[in-house]
Symmetry: C2
Subunit: 134 residues, 2 copies
Amino acid sequence: MIDRIPVLRIEDILLVSIQVDLQDHIAIQLQDDLSNKIVETGAKGVLIDISGLSVVDSFIGRMISTTASVSRVLDAETVLVGMQPAVAITLVELGLTLDGVRTALNVDRGLRLLRADIATRNLMSGAGDDRSFG
Amino acid sequence: MIDRIPVLRIEDILLVSIQVDLQDHIAIQLQDDLSNKIVETGAKGVLIDISGLSVVDSFIGRMISTTASVSRVLDAETVLVGMQPAVAITLVELGLTLDGVRTALNVDRGLRLLRADIATRNLMSGAGDDRSFG
């Protein structure tokens, strides 16, 4: 019924709202779409919302970690938002770690975190440029 | 498997990304969640993304129109974004009209449209306030 998860663009940030159980082919398609869209749009941040998921297992956890790693190679930071309390408890109890993924409470806060991060990175790359003139 | 569609908040705009066929109970739940969230957050705009839908029938069309009407009563404008070309063609061929719903190409443009709209409304209500002091 659903064959792909849309990747939405908000300025230089991409938003993915995961609402269905991620089967293998959807997860692969998502990673493909997301990395293509990062390259295509030059996005600097990725926001993954899982508020629609009541269960997050090790497969989804690994998928999110991999997505974050791929995005980082493409110069985009990933923030995971909308985690339900029960999901957070399960993740800790199962000892699942989301390597390289920062979290924020909701989309609004995640967007602010990413924007601050992007502004800092722009400043730093700007400072680097300035120094070359010094 | 999916029992509700998450309503995401971006500043004073709510974003709903519809990715699955809207069955009756999901549609009702969505209208409920959305109107509650408008009241709770004081949101001024609603963005409905249907880029994940390859088919839009009269039921979904009516649901979107009703949602827009309910949101307007609660002082929030609705913009529909992400319509696939085939969906646009079908809507016109079937003679389905989305009453009271504006459209934009994608989330990014829809957000800009809503922000401009909100700024205008704020200005106009500001002008109204000023006049009462005149």
